[in-house]
């Protein structure tokens, strides 16, 4: 067995709106259109990830928030109905997910070896979180690649963004080591928006795009600042300002998904590819890919 590797990392936001607008057979609600710029960004990213032929997709998900340590899936298959608790009118999705339990437990072991608390889901009634399902659907709608889900520890909310970043770093490094030891080709998905203040109203037709815009200018400025850093390969600097970004932009990255991704990738100093940026009900979302092996032209 050769050395495994993380062949790509993706900032993969999970607004249910994108699945809703896509009208896949698994999702019950129907739409006319919507959020095309982001959906096309996902389309490009999807093709790019396909070409890498990964063995497994790993997700760090803010919508599996864990109060103590990190949780991992310990059963090979989960089936069920995922109803978004915030946007139930947009997302009621039948899922059937194959889990790479071996890798899941290998990462768990390495996280535990670092002194972190962990727990393994062995209850078949457990419902997978909608954040993971949405970004996995958007990256791999045929669901033919097994997955590993990692819960997002909430210590940033109890202590500080810095504590949260430290924890995400431990888990990121443990993830990379476990992937390398596994001999597998893995793609990592940080399931997260950027700026994350929502509007509290919605138009009559949810996909009415005349309503869609950023919540406020400050959020937009911050989103552009961090995207610019990604495009320039300045991820070390990005990690440095992340605690401030999280507060100033009410960013969803506060739970550490992006930190986990960047740490697992060894903090990239090469340019990321921003496949697209768009707002969803006021929040800022970008589909961003880091693939070290791919030569990049002007961006």
């Amino acid at each position: 067995m050769g050395k495994g590797s993380i062949v790509a990392g993706v900032l993969a936001p999970h607004p249910p709106h994108l699945v809703y607008a896509d009208n896949p057979p698994q999702n019950e609600p129907r739409s006319e259109c919507g959020w095309e710029v982001l959906r096309w960004a996902y389309e490009r990213c999807r093709a790019s990830i396909r070409a890498l032929n990964p063995d497994v997709l790993l997700v760090h998900s803010p919508h599996w928030p864990s109060f103590i340590g990190h949780h991992f899936l310990g059963l090979p298959r989960f089936q069920g109905l995922s109803v978004d608790p915030v946007f139930p009118h947009l997302f009621r999705y039948r899922y059937d997910v194959k889990v790479d339990v071996e890798l899941s437990l290998q990462i768990r072991d390495r996280v535990a070896a670092q002194g972190q608390l962990t727990s393994v889901v062995e209850n078949p009634d457990f419902r997978l979180d909608y954040g993971s399902i949405i970004c996995l659907h958007l990256i791999n709608p045929s669901w033919d690649i097994p997955v590993v889900l990692i819960s997002a520890n909430q210590s940033a909310f109890y202590y500080s963004n810095e504590v949260g970043a430290d924890v995400a770093k431990i888990v990121g490094n443990a993830t990379r080591e476990a992937v390398e030891a596994s001999g597998k080709r893995a793609v990592l998905l940080a399931s997260s928006s950027l700026s994350h203040r929502h509007f509290v109203h919605e138009p009559e037709i949810p996909e009415d795009m005349s309503f869609e815009r950023i919540h406020h200018h400050g959020q937009y400025l911050w989103d552009m600042k961090v995207l610019d850093m990604m495009r320039k390969g300045q991820c070390r600097e990005l990690l440095d300002i992340m605690p401030e970004f999280n507060e100033m932009a009410t960013a969803e990255t506060k739970v550490g998904s992006l930190n986990w991704l960047l740490e697992a990738l060894g903090v990239p100093d090469y340019p990321a590819e921003v496949h697209g940026y768009g707002t969803v009900i006021g929040t800022g979302n970008a589909v961003v890919e880091w693939t070290a092996s791919k030569p990049r032209g002007a961006q």
């Binding site: 109905l81 109803v83 139930p88 209850n123 419902r127 109890y158 203040r197 509290v200 911050w222």
Partner: protein, 477 residues
């Protein structure tokens, strides 16, 4: 039975431990007992429905109202999946849900009636329902907690519930499902050895519970923001604003704190509020604004990225804030209960009391033990005492007696979740100071020399049973 819209209101913790694993810790068991106590009250109440607001059901687009007449699922908590699955089936008062949604609509907030198969009802509401209304004796109404709402908005949404009750001609049990401080322990944790994650959080919880014990809900609501900042209140403890809006923004309640326990570092309490005046609805046009001004203005303030990240050349303009109405000295209403935990500990491993008293009683952060001698449970003979046929003392051994006393104390302390190491004060009673002090003191020093509680030793004429030594102890729980 009062004539108002609310029979009684409760604040309960929605942590699933007190439902799924009460046996895992004395704390969980006490929460569970307190739950059982209010379940019996609810069973006897004259209410028409039970109305839940849970900090674990978060919404973004305004407010959601459960409107599936009988939502049913096999629930597994995302965090506490190892504790097991919870099958549930609620009976929902959909007419009330509709009427409540209309009232919130009239305030200008987005509303949505939820009637989707498989919609995930939150763990907190499920746990409360299982423990308070397991047979669906009362139909339930459930409203979501908006992530972004501040005091003004949350209070109004509470007021709207009172108007909906009035319009429906119904009377409710109001249940706020919320923790107090909400900071979890991050290290490995033994549920038998519970603690609040920090002393500061614990002190703030007690401040809030003291006010609630006095029935001062309006005062709590005025302290909520500071409490939330200091103790990481559960969703800013905004549920207190909702409850206060619903209950008419007053301090006219008899408060009772039935339990206050740590669960994984968070502050979990069970509180009952009985209105001393009938709760009435506030008309929409009189619906009161709080000191912050409009929600929109506050959102501006909270998200003013540019204002906050650029240096100010002039001080930022802030909305005028009214003086707090919190009185410096809150007067105690009659029939006040105390905020601190106050309960008995009776140990099966200790000798039967010779009168009507418990082995120990916990009050707040202290354990008080009754006087404890060398007697053993279920045993006539007393260690270190030799009696003749008429029950007169023939001989006694103070060393054996003192050892037995200390062993008995250890047992009582352990059944209260404490230990000998946590003893802070000892009063020792000897019937013969002159003859027994030396040996008693040797045994004492061996047991307590390193623990070093304060100590007082006195000689007494007699003790209630034919014993020569008895200790009265105070300890940390």
């Amino acid at each position: 039975m009062n004539q108002g819209l609310i029979s009684k209101a409760y604040i309960v913790s929605g942590m699933p431990h007190s439902y799924l694993t009460p046996e895992a810790s004395p704390s969980f068991a006490r929460l569970s007992e307190a739950y059982a106590k209010i379940r019996r009250e609810i069973e006897e109440s004259d209410a028409d429905l039970i109305l839940y607001f849970s900090t674990q059901w978060l919404s973004i687009l305004g407010y959601m109202f459960q409107a599936d007449p009988s939502p049913e699922w096999l629930h597994v908590d995302q965090n506490w999946h190892q504790l097991g699955s919870i099958p549930y089936k609620f009976a929902i008062d959909t007419a009330f849900a509709q009427s409540y949604a209309e009232e919130v609509d009239a305030l200008g907030y987005k509303t949505r009636l939820i009637n989707y198969h498989g919609f995930p009802i939150d763990t907190g509401t499920i746990v409360a329902q299982k423990l308070l209304n397991p047979q669906n004796r009362l139909p339930a109404a459930i409203v979501s907690c908006n992530m972004y709402s501040e005091k003004d908005e949350t209070t109004r949404v509470g007021q709207a519930a009172a108007r909906a009750l009035q319009a429906s001609g119904k009377k409710a049990i109001a249940v706020l499902v919320s923790n107090l401080s909400n900071r979890y322990l991050v290290e490995a944790y033994d549920p038998k050895n519970n603690r609040i994650s920090s002393k500061k959080d614990d002190e703030w919880n007690r401040k809030i519970l003291d006010l609630l014990a006095k029935g001062s809900l309006e005062d709590v609501s005025q302290c909520t923001r500071e409490f939330a900042r200091q103790a990481n209140g559960d969703q800013k403890f905004k549920g207190a604003w909702w409850l206060n809006g619903l209950l008419g923004q007053s301090n006219a309640f008899n408060g009772q704190v039935l339990a206050y326990e740590p669960v994984w570092g968070t502050g979990a309490a069970i509180v009952a509020l009985t209105p001393t005046q009938p709760v009435q609805a506030v008309a929409l046009e009189q619906s009161q604004s709080s000191e912050e001004g409009s929600q929109a203005a506050l959102v501006e303030e909270l998200t003013d990225f540019e204002g906050r990240s650029r240096p100010h050349t002039t001080a930022p303009v802030r909305a005028e804030r009214a003086e707090s109405k919190l009185p410096a000295e809150t007067k105690l209403p009659a029939n006040t209960q105390d905020a601190f935990p106050d309960f008995e500990i009776n140990s099966e491993k200790s000798a039967e009391p010779v009168g009507s008293y418990p082995h120990a009683r916990r009050y707040g952060d202290l354990l008080f033990l009754s006087g404890i001698g060398p007697r053993q449970p279920g045993q006539k003979e007393i260690p270190g005492v030799t009696l003749d046929a008429d029950g007169r003392i023939v001989a006694y051994d103070v060393r054996v007696q003192t050892l037995a006393v200390i062993e008995n104390i250890r047992r009582v302390l352990e059944s209260a979740g404490s230990s000998l190491e946590k003893v802070i004060d000892v009063q020792a009673y000897l019937t013969n100071m002159k003859a027994d002090f030396k040996v008693y003191n040797e045994v004492y020093n061996e047991a307590f020399g390193k623990i070093r509680p304060t100590r007082t030793t006195v000689e007494v004429g007699a003790l209630p049973t034919p014993i020569a030594v008895e200790f009265k102890v105070m300890a940390r729980p």
